[in-house]
Symmetry: C2
Subunit: 271 residues, 2 copies
């Protein structure tokens, strides 16, 4: 079994993967989120591990959009505490740093700290750990990266400034993505996806079905349909198992009044 993730060793995604599949899992890493979906499509990997939500900056919307585009499923989730650090080559001096590399969300999650360094150029990279690797390979003391302590160890960098994220309690939730729908009797969370017509009360009519069946809604995410208009599809997380009688009833009723209704997964809640 091979598990794919976006990034390189030392990334937060790899940490999530280890939590979910253990230290000895066979892994394969990819440059972009979509590359993980393509690897699933080509049967290069059995599962992909991808970030879906951060407690400070919100949803990683590309992965919501990719779940829809590829039609794949969520089979598990976990969450990882994110601690960002300013890393540089051993012996580097903060006063000589000219550039900082990281994922755009790394910059956003450390925006308060970075405001104190207005002359340092921020360069967006695919992943925090790839940034650390790049700083190592460039071997220039004017470069720095925002990444984890684990990335510092793996790439032989020094922690110039620890814990620079705005919010000390900063968590990212990761999902496991599969080509196939997989669920067990222990699964207690569902993610559903649908479009609704823009008319009075239509989202209300959906939520009414949940309320009627005493189903707890955990999250609602709206995304543009992508046709150039400001219309939306919805990703909703609810508590329950797809085989529960009340869930079955709600799904049946909601399917009737929405467009492209789909259960994106039924898995074990981990937050």
């Amino acid at each position: 079994m091979i598990i794919g993730y976006q990034g390189v060793p030392g990334s937060y995604s790899e940490e999530a993967l280890i939590q979910l599949f253990g230290e000895n899992a066979n892994t394969k890493c990819y440059k972009e989120f979509e590359d993980v979906f393509i690897a699933l499509q080509n049967d290069e990997i059995n599962y992909g591990v991808l970030p879906i939500e951060n407690s400070t900056t919100g949803s990683i919307t590309q992965n919501y959009d990719l779940l829809k585009k590829y039609g794949y499923y969520i089979t598990a989730e976990t969450s990882v505490k994110i601690e960002h650090n300013l890393l540089a080559l051993p012996g580097a001096n903060i006063n000589n740093i000219e550039q900082v590399f990281s994922h755009p969300q790394g910059f956003e999650q450390c925006s308060n700290y970075l405001k104190n360094l207005p002359n340092i150029k921020q360069i967006a990279y695919h992943n925090t750990a790839i940034s650390a690797e790049y700083v190592k390979n460039q071997a220039q003391k004017i470069n720095s990266a925002i990444a984890s302590k684990r990335a510092a160890q793996i790439y032989g960098l020094e922690v110039l400034v620890p814990n620079i994220q705005n919010n000390k309690e900063n968590w990212t939730r990761f999902i496991v993505v599969s080509k196939n729908y997989e669920s067990t009797a222990k699964s207690d969370k569902l993610t559903i996806l649908f479009e609704i017509p823009n008319k009075i009360g239509s989202l209300y009519q959906i939520l009414e079905k949940f309320s009627k069946e005493k189903i707890n809604m955990l999250k609602i995410e709206s995304r543009p349909v992508g046709d150039g208009t400001f219309s939306y599809c919805f990703y909703i997380d609810i508590e329950g198992n797809k085989e529960d009688i009340n869930i079955k009833q709600a799904i049946k009723n909601i399917g009737k009044i929405t467009k492209d209704f789909k259960v994106l997964g039924c898995y074990k809640k981990n937050v």
Copy 2:
């Protein structure tokens, strides 16, 4: 009267500003979205024009978060058609381009085109037009920018490849932000903000109030509260005027069952 925006002349924000306040408006531009809020706070400007949503990539969530952080109001909206182009110095050759500068959303909105150029380094900048200005100032034919045709004209760049965005119908909605609540009898759209307790049916109970009063909901955006947990506040756009009897009734009822309820603005719908 002075109007602030993020970016430089030639940015899409400036186009929105001109639509809203005319060609002769006194303007002041800022580097970051938050700088516009700070300028409002310091009474350097009377209004700020900021992007809030794109029809392909979704909400500009930082501006939702900043509206909440500063406690300011939406007084108007407009939308601008976004056409991204690959710009470079006159005489530059696409085969020699090594770097492309743009806003991260510029990269995302042109991701299909950029996939064909895997060897070109993407460097994130604060704004598409600032990227164009930078390419001009650097005066190196290996550099390119993703920005508007207007930016090409202003900064003397050439359109190497026109219309490279994924979706030919690509629109961004902009809002006018003010320190003060302002509304007229013609205002026909409201934005409200609140937090709700995470219990069965609570969002449903809010939407029920709208449905009962025959109020059309245009958009719902959930954002993390930001305390390190996966709990949310909601920004909801509805049709109507704050003085309408049904709106007044719904607001009164919703205020009772939510936390930190606020009307973020009542303005003229423009989408």
